[in-house]
Symmetry: none
Subunit: 224 residues, 4 copies
DNA sequence: GATGAATGAGTTTTCATTCAT
DNA sequence: GATGAATGAAAACTCATTCAT
């Protein structure tokens, strides 16, 4: 009757509702991580979530929409991690590259569950489309961040064709990191996070010897 | 396993039989490439193969076995391509590395159909196991080939910690090439094969400046 | 049944309550008319009524009761129309018959929505029972009205077996009018209300030439 | 192996297949007759047919298609009956009309099961569309048959506006017969087939007194 | 050996009903 | 009183597998 109690009630309700929605998304991600997309049935998902069958329809209308929501969630996890690292990193291009590499190889994303999910969505043709659509604009932003970090260093260093090299370095770094994830997917036990990091820095150090060594950024940080 | 039955029947019959078997495997791969694993139903596969439903049972007992055979086939395609390239390559370590990179980025494997299949099998948890089991020994062989190509060059160059660097270079190269495939999977239209090659050589050139430039192997081929 | 609660609450409340109840019934009828009974789900009905899901339980306990109420409402519409026409009609048997025919073919009942509803309830076996139960006593009244209008005219006219003919005429007229509805159901666009009327009067005129022509009742109105 | 036995086998198989298909259609009609469309679930239908669940998909892809096939079947029953009667009837217009009336009121179509089915399909908005599409051309043919029977009789009789009257008589007869079915639907026990016939003939006799009495066609058969 | 009709377990989806707020 | 989130039984549909021919 009175507005305050109504709002309180509805707030609690809608909070609970939201929590259920998220529980379904998380259960879906768990399922996809453990069983893959093909075996992630509604029955399997609701069993993990401990919620009712009808809930999926209530929140997502179809299982397909639930999968889409799960893909979106998986994306957020990655880009949130990256955003945090970039915010924490100093303003220099050296530090930016450092942050990108370390966030990509951090335990927050490079873990069994997350990597399984990532590759599951990439692997299944139909989901890949959703995935791509979601990723492309953000990927572009990440490319830009990396490119704009490499360019001034290459120029200062006097590398000829700095623009071309910067683009190659960017594509190479992204590919290298992707390849590390691949390696982790297939051999999570044997994977060595530090070695992966070292390899990445070796690659960059080859192009930017004044700024990086295999151990990471040097201290000759160029003032911006 | 089926050699006996192969020999028993008339040659024509067993040839036809083998052709049917392969048609099913290829149809499965087509299906996986286009629709993904989850949507590759028996009905879809036989429609593409133009064969009868019972045929799958006849040749593979279960659909699962058909999928395994398809995974094996996908593997063969890749390693056959690599073997050819290595055979064609000269005996020097430079040429070996050159062959590995060029085979990995060649149109024979880096094409839409094949990359879709590869990632589909990797993505689906259950198939990944089969995939891994099949790949691991062969992957090890490939690692060894690359490692043993890098090592003498690094030693001759006088790189300190040559063993460690050789391992890093090997893992890095493999990761980089995997990453290129990833890029191709997501952007087959925008992908630039030459640039991918150049990026790979830039990476190696950073570690082996005497042997490689971004354009490939230099001509200072070390006599073996 | 709900008189007590009606009287208890404030007038405004009970008015609102009643309005909601009717909104649900009307929404149900709309739904049945457009989608048929099988597709008239609770969700569909409340969407049309703009009311909450729980409302149905509040007013009708079950969806089935709501359907029954809708059937009753559909009945009322018809018999209300008939009652109005009979009240307006003069007292002579000629005028009674005239009123029956004109009300049956009037736009108030012979319209798309109403005819769809009517046939939907007739068609679905389960609802037909409710329908029949509701109709039978009222139908009997209508039969009686028609029969008692025909009989004196036939007698006065000197028709042999007047009782039998009166019964046949009654059944025939009712059947003819029903058949017209049927025609309207299937071809609402092509339906010609005037022609339908004329056909009905032709039928009656065949049996009662002194009282009717194809244009309706003649003016030789027999004093009652 | 040999062609004869192969064909025999496949014939038997496809005969069996066809029988199953028809069994499903008949079971659907039974279901619709007894329970109505809304309650005719796949489970209910296969229980009646004594066949497996998957069969419906095998033969009809969807339940909706099965319903359509059932509607078509119901149609055939009616028009087959009419065709038989018309073929048996003599060539005169009197006899044609006679055949139409008698076939419409014959036990072959005017029975509980059939009438229930007929009204079920007419009642539900969605089914009605299929129904209408199927019927419209055949209905038109039937109209033409009736119309062309009435017209010469009315002309010979010297009825003014023979064309108009013929059309009215046609529409009236069809409506009347439809109305009889309605009556049967609601009161199958009380329905009197002979009386229905008599009523129909009274209607026609009113317009064509030289050719019909309430008992049917007179013997003044006009030579064709 | 080969076929494809048939099966039924299991999947997604729908929906009337319940009930905490 | 009123709401709409939640439930789960039952609905339609999918599909690997079987097996008579």
């Amino acid at each position: 009757m009175n507005k305050i109690s109504d709002n309180r009630g509805s707030d609690r309700r809608s909070q609970l509702r939201e929590r259920n929605r998220e529980a379904l998304v998380e259960a879906t991600l768990d399922c996809v991580a453990e069983l893959g997309i093909a075996r992630s049935s509604v029955s399997e998902i609701i069993a993990r979530a401990g919620l009712s069958r009808g809930m999926i329809h209530l929140h997502f209308e179809t299982k397909d929409n639930l999968l889409k929501a799960a893909i979106e969630r998986a994306n957020e996890i990655y880009y949130d991690e990256l955003a945090v690292l970039l915010r924490q990193a100093g303003p220099s291009p050296q530090e930016t590259i450092d942050a990108v590499i370390r966030s990509d190889l951090s335990e927050n994303v490079l873990n069994r569950r997350y990597i399984s999910i990532w590759y599951a969505f990439r692997g299944e043709a139909r989901e890949r489309e959703v995935f791509r659509r979601l990723n492309d604009t953000r990927d572009e932003r990440m490319r830009t961040i990396i490119l704009e970090a490499f360019l001034p260093m290459l120029r200062e260093q006097g590398t000829p064709d700095a623009e071309l090299v910067a683009r190659d370095a960017t594509d190479g770094l992204i590919a290298l990191l992707e390849g590390m994830w691949n390696d982790y997917l297939l051999h999570p036990d044997a994977f060595d996070r530090d070695q992966a990091c070292r390899v990445a820095f070796r690659f960059i150090a080859g192009l930017l010897p004044d700024y990086f060594t295999f151990a990471g950024a040097t201290h000759k940080v160029s003032a911006k």
